[in-house]
């Protein structure tokens, strides 16, 4: 059979070549973001069509047998700005509008472990997310939101343990025990070193904090996703689709290695690992990326780590549409970009999705823009019909060929990273950073030479851009936040705080101890993020770049 097909295809190509003389192609070569050459046409000979079934290893077609026929993906819009009570209002608005999960954005001081009154925090308080200093802020943030009913995703990495403890403490005050809490902490420090920049401590103690969280949650928060291994920011920093998938999976393997080295059994923590990918512009390549990542991870977990539980093999992922694909020019065009990207995520089988707002290249989203972004998902879910069958593009000649080729290219990268001794070493030697930067620079050059067309940016421009209404974070917020922090410091039992922080300091140097219960004690005494991180900074040191 294949031979016959090949000769038929060869014959057909000869015909095409005649046509091409009269109608030359638009470009000399066509290729995806990852430099995969795209052929005129794909057929039966171009891929492996032994696809397997959804819900079955290696999960190419989806991790559940019925996928969106049973339950749609979770629509989870990332939000947070200004003060905890302002963000609380936005959350309650989004829940009323039909959003099904919360996703908290924190401001940079919170993400880097500085209190709002720290000199380093100047100008940054409440800007890219909500400002959290102590448990009191977290109580305001989650006011009247029932933690046994809503799952919450927190984009927090270096101080993930502290925010998780605050979440546990608020749950307790609501009468919700920690076993019932559902949600995700990002907790992925490796991609911070590579791409996102909100690191605090050096790699070794950072990895310890992560494995301490794995161990603690296995016992106390069995329904909580302990990490969201993120390719999103790697892509935003300028990587291509293959690099995004490869570096994310390599980081994932580093966490599994660290957890196993700390004495955990792979099947106790692997089911709680989650992933987070970008949905970028090249529609079919993105779909292929999600599918390939799922198959690769399943094989690695089963064959390399010898995990026994099917739950450990499944790559569950959240997706966000690509922020850096949005243009500041003609911002309404971004709604269309987001729609296409969101559709790719759904066709790729995502478990949850954030759709970006049209104005994100300009500022934080307004309420109207955030609503349109959510409506985009609802239209895909309820009107387009794409959620009515499982893996509708499975078996597409092109998609399967791309999936195979992406998988092969990812495996090549994993092999190179292995030669460095793993992801941590590859990052320490700057390998991933260089690869990403190289690709980012080449992309910029292609855009400037108009080899790559961005509608409204380098072609189809408007003479006069309209300035849309933007969300403004009140500049007085910083002062108010600092005042609140000072009030909490005055009101709390200072002796108890000092005592809990001292206890934390003692276990910080004891590598055998689990830090989480001590952080929880300090949080409950209303110790601030800055105070807790400073104790750890004293003992762990600070990371300043490789």
């Amino acid at each position: 059979m294949p031979e016959k097909h090949e000769s038929e295809k060869t014959k057909w190509i000869k015909d095409v070549e005649k046509t091409l003389k009269r109608f030359p192609e638009r470009k000399e070569t066509f290729h995806t973001s990852s430099e995969i050459t795209v052929d005129y046409l794909y057929g039966t000979e171009d891929a492996n069509y032994n696809l397997g079934y959804p819900g079955q290893y290696p999960y190419l077609r989806g991790i559940q047998p019925t996928m969106y026929r049973s339950r749609l993906w979770t629509m989870r819009q990332y939000a947070g700005f200004g003060s905890a009570s302002e963000t609380n209002k936005r959350f309650r608005y989004l829940l009323e509008q039909g959003q099904t999960g919360l996703s908290v954005a924190f401001d940079l001081p919170t993400q880097i472990g500085y209190d709002s009154d720290d000199v380093m925090s100047e100008g940054e308080v409440g800007k890219v997310g909500v400002a959290i200093d102590t448990l009191a802020d977290m109580e305001n943030l989650l006011d009247q939101i029932p933690l046994d009913k809503v799952s919450t995703s927190m984009t927090i990495n270096a101080p993930a343990a502290i925010l998780l403890c605050m979440y546990i403490a608020v749950g307790e005050k609501q009468g919700v025990s920690s076993e019932k809490l559902t949600g995700t902490i990002q907790n992925d420090i490796l991609k911070e070193y590579i791409a996102r920049g909100t690191y605090i401590f050096p790699p070794k103690p950072s990895m310890r904090l992560i494995t301490d969280i794995f161990a603690y949650c296995q016992e106390h928060l069995p329904k909580f996703n302990t990490i969201s291994i993120s390719g999103y920011h790697i892509r935003e920093a300028g990587s291509n689709a293959v690099q995004e998938a490869a570096f994310t999976i390599a980081n994932g393997m580093a966490y599994v290695d660290a957890a196993i080295a700390s004495g955990l059994d792979v099947d106790t923590f692997a089911p709680r690992l989650a992933f987070f990918f970008n949905a970028h512009n090249n529609f079919f390549e993105e779909i292929a990326k999600f599918r390939a990542a799922r198959r690769i991870w399943a094989k690695i977990m089963k064959e390399h780590y010898e995990a026994k539980e099917p739950k450990s093999w499944k790559l569950r992922f959240h997706t966000q549409t690509g922020g850096s694909t949005l243009t500041a020019q003609q911002p309404d065009n971004n709604i269309v970009r987001v729609t296409m990207q969101a559709l790719a995520a759904v066709l790729g089988g995502t478990q949850s999705l954030h759709t970006n707002s049209r104005d994100e290249a300009l500022s934080l989203p307004t309420e109207e823009s955030a609503r349109i972004a959510l409506r985009t998902q609802q239209i895909i879910a309820h009107e387009s019909g794409v959620a009515d069958t499982v893996d509708p593009l499975g078996g597409s000649y092109y998609v399967e060929a791309l999936t195979d080729e992406l998988e092969a290219k990812v495996m090549d990268y994993l092999e190179r990273i292995k030669e460095f001794g793993g992801a941590v070493q590859a990052i320490e030697e700057g390998y991933m950073q260089r690869e990403i930067h190289h690709n980012a620079y080449e992309t910029q050059k292609r855009i400037e030479s108009e080899e790559e067309i961005i509608v409204g940016l380098n072609q189809f421009k408007l003479e006069e851009e309209v300035n849309p209404d933007l969300l403004k974070v009140d500049e007085a917020l910083e002062k108010a936040q600092i005042n609140n922090l000072h009030k909490v410091r005055k009101k709390r039992n200072q002796e108890a705080v000092d005592q809990k922080l001292e206890a934390l300091r003692r276990v910080a140097i004891d590598e055998e101890a689990n830090l989480i219960p001590y952080i929880l004690d300090a949080v409950k005494a209303y110790a601030s993020i800055g105070e807790i991180c400073n104790v750890l900074r004293d003992e762990f040191g600070e990371y300043t770049g490789f």
Binding site: S121, E122, E124, K127, R196, G197, A440, Y441, T544, G545
Partner: protein, 273 residues
Amino acid sequence: MRKIRILIAKPGLDGHDRGALVIAQAMRDHGMEVIYTGLRQSPVQIATAAIQEDVDVVGLSSLSGAHNTLFPKVIEELEKRNAGDIPVIGGGVIPNEDIPFLLEKGIKRIFTSGSSTEEMAVYLKNLLRPEEAPVPPKRIAHIGIAVHQIKDALQFFTETIGLEVEAIEEVESEGVKIAFLKIGETRIELLEPLHDQSPIKGFLTKRGEGVHHIAFEVEDLAVRLSRLKEQGIRLINEEPKQGANDSQIAFIHPKEAHGVLVELCEQAKGSDE
């Protein structure tokens, strides 16, 4: 002359350094020396580094919304150290409505999302090496108008408008017949194709009769062309070529000049055109 030295800095806590890194590399490719501070620099650290590194300009990048606080602080800290003369530029996610405030605080220029590195390199060279900035062209040497038949067109330009024909020439190498009509210090050139392979024929078929090109008279054609090439401006002629009356000419791609075909021409010494 020493190379332009630029400090690229990330003030505040923002970790998005894709833009800063891309700009650092692009400015290096434009022959500048670039020092990148890395993440999380305070205004004091940035000002100190700018002075220690003896840079010509500081470029600040912020995507976290802290620009209104942090950019002016960098200027204050430079001034405190008697280095207020070092120009500071900025970029990142900066809403248009914040730009007037930043300019008023002394930031020289804001490059927002979607700016090209080319544009920035040219801006810096003109700002920091004004002696090398382009001198304005002397005059419009002529305006070229493509016509089907010169004899038909002349009726309008001479009888209706009142211009006078100076000369009619055939330029075999370009496949074109030209009528010259003087108007003040400039001329109208009517261009008629001599045959079907003439570029003027192509223009007429695609767009019909109309303005074909504008010629600027310059005095440094060869130098200009090499600088335009350096800036990545697309040229139809990368080297000067022979034009009418011993002049040297070259065309710039119309995409670069917003749809207008621009000719640069340099007269032979002592000639009128």
